[in-house]
């Protein structure tokens, strides 16, 4: 029986889609059968980040409305044969789908896949309700900014109200140099406010922008962010992986002067 994971955040632009793409690809790398569902109907993103836009024929709304079978709409990834994408529709809006329909769709996919990952739209309206409807587990993505943390707090409250079984936190785009100067919240500060378990810390990394533009998720490569994402995947599988030391890529000066432990 597969597990349904929703990636959500409340605030836009904190990295839900990037996280979905990288965690999904990472799990596929670890030889799990994975399907990514873009539930942001009206604003397609995930297919672009995955570099699969040119393969789209059918979409989520087609499947829900019965225009095509699930099998026809699923796009096989270009790198991993056990990774699939169900893209969202661009010409429709969130109200074309109900939470019940999403739950049914997720349940149908459980038999065939190990992980069904939902990329949730920003906000707390219909799109959010659709995305969390069938989920067993939620990954809440936030950046160390007060507005993102505030929204994450609200989202966690809503997930609790909807009886989400497991909720984990990913602190994205953290900059250790700023944390050290006291100009940015540390992951500990964020955790103290939100009071849920941390499953990953991803540093702010230029290579993420580059990989997104190229449509190649960077999970598993040598960059810090790539390693951080792979660690998240391993933790999802239940492995105990220590958190990365995000200070290490600081160059000579950092190494000489920045040896203070957090």
């Amino acid at each position: 029986m597969g597990e349904v994971i929703v990636v959500t955040s409340g605030k836009g632009g904190v990295g839900k889609t990037t996280t979905t793409a990288n965690v999904g690809t990472g799990l596929a790398m670890l030889e799990k059968k994975v399907v990514l569902i873009d539930t942001d109907i009206g604003l397609r993103n995930l297919d672009v980040i995955m570099g699969l836009e040119n393969r789209i024929v059918y979409n989520l709304v087609d499947v829900i409305e019965g225009t095509c079978r699930i099998r026809n709409a699923l796009i096989k990834d270009k790198r991993y044969p056990n990774l699939y994408l169900l893209p969202s529709a661009q010409t429709r809006d969130k109200n074309s789908v109900t939470p019940e329909q999403m739950k049914k769709l997720a349940d149908e996919l459980r038999d065939e896949f190990d992980y069904i990952i939902m990329d949730c739209p920003a906000g707390i309206e219909q799109g959010f309700k659709n995305a969390i409807a069938g989920a067993d587990r939620a990954l809440v993505v936030t950046t160390p900014e007060v507005s993102a943390v505030r929204d994450a707090d609200r989202i966690i409250g809503l997930l609790e109200a909807n009886e989400m079984k497991q909720t984990h936190l990913i602190v994205n785009r953290i900059r250790m140099d700023m944390v050290k100067r006291g100009d940015m919240m540390s992951s500990d500060d964020v955790c103290e406010i939100l009071a849920i378990d941390l499953i990953g810390i991803v540093p702010d990394d230029e290579s993420i922008v580059i990989s997104a533009n190229q449509g190649e998720p960077l999970v598993g490569n040598d960059s810090l962010a790539g390693r951080a994402y792979l660690n998240i995947c391993k933790r999802i599988l239940g492995e105990e992986v220590p958190f990365l030391d995000l200070d290490q890529k600081q160059g000579l000066f950092g190494k000489l002067f920045g040896r203070r432990k957090r």
Binding site: R150, R154, G157, I193, A195
Partner: protein
Amino acid sequence: MNNSVIIKGNKYGIIVVLNPDMPFEELKLVVAEKFKESSKFFENAKMAISFEGRKLSNEEQREILDIIGENTDMHIVCIMENDPGAEELFKKTVEQKLLELSNNSGQFYKGILRSGASLEFETSVIIIGDVNHGARVVSKGNIIVLGSLKGNAFAGATGNTNSFVVALDMNPTQIRIADTIARAPDKPVKQEVKETKIAFLEDGNIYIEPLNKNILQDITI
């Protein structure tokens, strides 16, 4: 035309204005006559009744109700008490009691109040957990937060100026006690040591001070 009894009414009830000076026995006859005349008008309406102009004993009230019953088909559902003095007394006693109850009795709430959450309590409340930014807790009595208070707290919601707010980590966006509102300073004050603090109302101002023995002695509940 005899004006010693006047019937006023609407869809739901009638007010019977009685002459205070006429002997009761005579008055009864007039009442009977009046209701007989208007029985067609009322038919079998279900109504509340209230008496004005004259203080009636329970016995007298019952007699008048009997007269109405005999002369009309209407059903009197209840008698509305129309004594301003008694009402004021009831109101005062009930409010006093409720106020005491809300301050003296309390309940526990365990959990984190997250952004957007709003909880209201009839009594004092002890929250085991944090009240995060954007969350709100309202109590008619006192609020005690065993965690950090970062959102809004409103104690003494029905106007009790003796109410107070205590938090292990006091860092609220807004605190309201009775009708007084205090807000956080625009520039956040970095406090080095986290200590338990109490917010209370004195001379129309809200003060936040570390909780110590002297302050505890001044608390009235």
